[in-house]
Amino acid sequence: MKTIKTILLVSVFALITAFTLTPVEGYKVGDIATDFKLENVDGKMVSLSDYTEAKGFVVIFTCNTCPYSVVYEDRIIALDKKYKSKGYPVIAINPNDPKASNGDSLADMKIRASEKGFTFPYLFDKGQKIYPQYGATRTPHVYILKKENNKLHVAYIGAIDNNSRNPNSVTKRYVEDAIDALLLGKKPEKNTSRAIGCSIKSL
């Protein structure tokens, strides 16, 4: 009976912590992330397993229509340019249902990607199967994944930096700091952050 009580207490405690520390369902830092096979703006299907040389990924849920996504476009391109060669390419995914978000169809994504000259895949989460598994709630929403023993470990969840509105006023570069730590074999000091963003659109 005593052991049952202990088990009960421990499990209740574990669940409380799990629920109070995790705002929404989805991945927490340390979890193993799923791979996917999604259509890119160039018409090809992309999976993380295609990148045999990568050390990890900067998966960013983002879209055409959210002003917060738009203000980050140049910074996302810069991240990809800086870290792709170091083994951490950017993989952008549009999680919105275009029926609920005018301007976020694959055709619209192709236009935006070519206008901005995206250097990274910009994938369409057709049927909205992937973003709920990750637990993304907004655009932009970043998940840094580290490849280890062929598994994708979630190393960071959150914002790109600490000033969405003005790149010149940024004082903390969360994503860069996290990847720099990972490249040194360390764990990111700050592994979660929050920012205002657009809710992900579903019907």
Binding site: S11, K172, I196, S199
Partner: protein, 167 residues
């Protein structure tokens, strides 16, 4: 055994979203612009009223869609000590060009303030540990109860939530 565990967890979930608060008043002719320290008193008054605080922006389509529900709530419950506050997260550069014209065009009756505090990672969790930062989002509180909703509302659902604070 499973059932008992589940019951505990569910019960704890319901109880765990509480905090208490206090003080301050604010008047607006134009749009006051606040950082978190200035906004915080409006999110923790203890004056017998129930406050419905909506986080929105003119660029956020689902926010704009649900605004009439908050206006209707303000109108229907003004005799019952209910206050509605619309906290705009519009870009400060677009106050004159977007926010003010929007308020005028839609003849908003609710009080509107601008949340102008770039260090979002520091203040979002202070408003609610459950808020990822997505908008629309709504906080309803009074001296006894406080619940944060990261979701959009239809009028009936919003009224239903408000009722839980008034009984």
């Amino acid at each position: 055994m499973r059932k008992i565990q589940l019951f505990f967890c569910v019960a704890i979930l319901f109880v765990s979203c509480k905090e208490e608060g206090r003080k301050d008043l604010v008047k607006t002719d134009s749009i006051p612009s606040y950082n978190y320290a200035e906004l915080a008193p409006l999110l923790s008054k203890n004056d017998g009223k129930t406050y419905v605080i909506n986080f929105w922006a003119t660029w956020c389509a689902p926010c704009v869609k649900e605004l009439p529900a908050f206006e209707k709530l303000l109108d229907r419950y003004k005799g019952e000590n209910v206050k509605v506050l619309l906290v705009s997260l519009d870009f400060p550069s677009q106050i004159e060009s977007k926010l003010i014209p929007f308020i005028k065009k839609n003849q908003l009756k609710s009080q509107v303030v601008l949340m102008n505090d770039p260090d979002q990672d520091s203040w979002i969790p202070k408003i609610s540990k459950n808020w990822s930062g997505a908008i629309p989002a709504t906080l309803i509180y009074n001296s006894k109860k406080r619940v944060f909703y990261e979701r959009s509302f239809e009028y009936a659902e919003l009224e239903n939530e408000l009722q839980k604070f008034l009984n």
